[in-house]
């Protein structure tokens, strides 16, 4: 009893500890920024760019360390940003000068840069210098060692990026939707796209230390993909992307501090992607579940109408209104009809059809008038 209480007490201590507060704040900020900017990457069908940039950042980090010996996050982040930028320039150059398409170019650049980064990292680890330890945390990220200084960098950088998104909101939206139209009204489309890509690169680089180069692209794609499922408005989508990303960041930080040996970065990514999968199924606007249910309801309604009209037509051809017809006759009329008996029972409950004798069905007066309406509507449309 007292052991459990002690446990709760120690978890409470953990949750209120300044270390967790720093880590949670930093992770939340990173999630919010990458979630918001990821939305534009998703809308412009450029999700793979996030992948390429984050992987390409690795050699930048290694080179920044090799050339300057710095281990401050600012210096390394600068190296990562430069490498990410060079990678994007390479992609553009490949697309322009060869016949390879953008996806292929992204794949080539991603693999080359990442491979080069791993080589450099291995080289650094063999250096007889005690100072190099910890650089490999950039592979999978290490949020737990986040410092006050890192949070400040994330906060300032994130505020700048989100501020720019708000400032150029109209332009970003227009260029993402219809870049040719934007060009015809006189917008410098290429420069706007460049700025948008720059912001994306910056958001990725900011998150590298927490989440790592391998998983950072998930923070760009997952919150945005989840947000898309819940709304049909660009503004709401970007807001939700930021909220989902932030929530994933905080949740991942808390979870990894409560559960021993749970790495923060991968946990954040797991939370974000799990939410994206849940959203894919139950998202209010586009959830697969709702689409499936709507389809089922439509199929059911169409089947009911087909039965009503079928009985109506059979009655007109022979037997008169009160003469019953079998399921077989209905199936012969519309061979694709499924679950005829069940549909008939449901219609019977709504007093639209009745069983005149065993296995034979006819329309009631109410069913008669409804069938007539359906037939008339169909004729009108024609």
């Amino acid at each position: 009893m007292s052991g459990a209480l002690e446990n709760v007490g120690s978890i409470w201590d953990l949750l209120t500890s300044p270390i967790l507060r720093t880590v949670a704040l930093g992770s939340g900020l990173l999630g919010a920024v990458s979630g918001a900017l990821g939305c534009f990457a998703l809308l412009r069908r450029q999700s793979l760019v996030g992948d390429a940039v984050s992987h390409a950042a690795l050699p930048g980090i290694a080179l920044a360390f090799l050339l300057t010996g710095t281990k401050s996050s600012f210096g390394l982040v600068l190296g990562a940003a430069l490498a990410g930028w060079v990678a994007m320039v390479f992609v553009l150059a490949i697309v322009r000068t060869t016949r390879l398409d953008e996806n292929t170019a992204l794949g080539i650049v991603l693999a080359t840069f990442f491979g080069f980064g791993l080589v450099l990292l291995t080289f650094i680890q063999r250096l007889p210098n005690a100072n190099q330890a910890g650089l490999d945390t950039y592979l999978f990220g290490q949020a737990a060692t986040m410092l006050h200084e890192d949070v400040l960098l994330l906060g300032a950088g994130g505020a700048l990026l989100l501020g720019l998104v708000v400032m150029f909101w109209k332009e970003f939206k227009l260029v993402s939707f219809d870049r040719e139209f934007a060009a015809t009204v006189g917008y410098p489309v290429q420069r706007i796209e460049l700025l948008l890509t720059l912001l994306l690169v910056a958001a990725i680089v900011l998150g590298l230390r927490t989440v790592g180069v391998v998983l950072m692209s998930a923070m760009i794609v997952a919150p945005a993909a989840a947000a898309r499922q819940w709304t049909h408005h660009t503004g709401m989508m970007v807001l939700l992307g930021a909220i989902f990303g932030c929530a994933a960041g905080v949740a991942g930080a808390v979870a990894s501090s409560v559960v021993p040996h749970l790495p923060t970065g991968p946990t954040i990514v797991l939370v974000a992607t799990s939410w994206a999968i849940v959203s894919l199924f139950v998202g209010a606007k586009r959830g697969i579940l709702w689409q499936w249910l709507r389809l089922r309801m439509l199929q059911k309604r169409l089947a009911e109408e087909a039965i009503l009209v079928g009985l109506y037509e059979l009655a007109q051809v022979h037997g008169g209104e009160r003469h019953g017809h079998t399921e077989g006759a209905l199936r012969a009329l519309s061979p694709n009809l499924l679950r005829v008996r069940r549909r008939l029972r449901e219609l019977e409950q709504r007093e639209l059809v009745e069983e005149t004798s065993r296995g034979a069905w006819a329309l009631t007066a109410k069913g008669q008038s409804q069938a007539q309406q359906i037939v008339e509507k169909a004729q009108e449309k024609r």
């Binding site: 809308l43 069908r45 400032m167 150029f168 909101w169 109209k170 332009e171 939206k173 227009l174 993402s176 939707f177 219809d178 040719e180 139209f181 060009a183 015809t184 009204v185 006189g186 917008y187 898309r228 709304t231 049909h232 408005h233 660009t234 709401m236 989508m237």
Partner: protein, 261 residues
């Protein structure tokens, strides 16, 4: 900012709305348009016709500065396009955008006013009203709040038309507006075209239905990589020119026209 631009002084009535000279456009090394001359006087409805792959859309895009020009010159109301952009409006093929984009009909129409609103500022009440007016004109006012992903092809086309109308342009370029639309939309587009003509606006339309050219348009350009003919429909929309543009593929249409006569 606007008032010192060349286009704000009243336009001379005799200046050509569009003057394309010696235009050549190539993708990689294959020419798509070869040494094309097109002149469009003010106030006409002009159709650009030609077989598939003749360069109709490319001609439109080259005039609008959307594809690089290998050689030649384009003048809009006698000046280079960048100076006259505010007088030009473009209705792209509706298939050119992702209609699954999360936004509303009204938002798309408002995009036509972004440039006028300027950087940083947001469209306000006046812009909204203007956009609604344009939606009324194309019969889409009831759809203002609708998600664009829920529109039919014809409705999408009318939204694009409304976005062009809010720009208060003098010269309109439309790429296949009649492609795959319903009867209501076709009527709406024709009404808009006639309205623009009565307002002395100039409209250039990439068109694929030869049957309706004499009915809808008063000016026509026939192209097939090279320009075949350009002028009033009555003078240049002839069997000879059509044969020159379409080659053997024309037989069916010409027979039909003769039966109709």
């Amino acid at each position: 900012m606007r008032h010192d631009r060349a286009g704000d002084s009243p336009l001379a009535e005799d200046v050509l709305a569009v003057e394309v000279s010696d235009l050549t456009v190539a993708y990689h090394t294959k020419p798509v348009l070869w040494d094309v001359d097109v002149t469009v006087p003010q106030g006409v409805l002009m159709a650009i016709v030609g077989p598939n792959g003749a360069g109709k859309t490319t001609l439109l895009k080259a005039i609008l500065g959307l594809v690089p020009i290998a050689a030649g010159q384009v003048l809009i109301f006698g000046r280079p396009l960048p100076e006259m952009r505010h007088l030009v409006s473009y209705v792209p093929q509706r298939g050119s955008v992702d209609w699954d984009y999360p936004t509303t009909v009204l938002d798309v129409v408002l995009m036509g006013l972004y440039r006028r609103v300027g950087w940083i500022r947001r469209p306000g009440h006046a812009e909204r009203e203007k956009a609604m007016e344009a939606l009324h004109l194309v019969g889409m006012a009831d759809f203002a709040k609708r998600q664009i992903s829920q529109l039919s092809g014809g409705q999408q086309q009318r939204v694009f038309l409304a976005r062009a109308l809010v720009q208060d342009a003098k010269l309109f370029f439309m790429d296949e507006p009649f492609q795959g639309v319903d009867a209501t939309t076709e009527r709406a587009i024709i009404q808009i075209l006639q309205r623009l003509r009565s307002e002395k606006k100039t409209v250039v339309v990439v068109h694929h239905d030869l049957q309706t050219v004499p009915e809808y348009f008063d000016w026509v350009t026939l192209i097939n990589v090279r320009r075949i003919a350009c002028g009033p429909v009555r003078e240049v929309f002839t069997e000879q020119n059509l044969r020159a543009a379409y080659g053997g593929r024309m037989a069916f249409f010409i027979e039909q026209r003769e039966e109709g006569c």
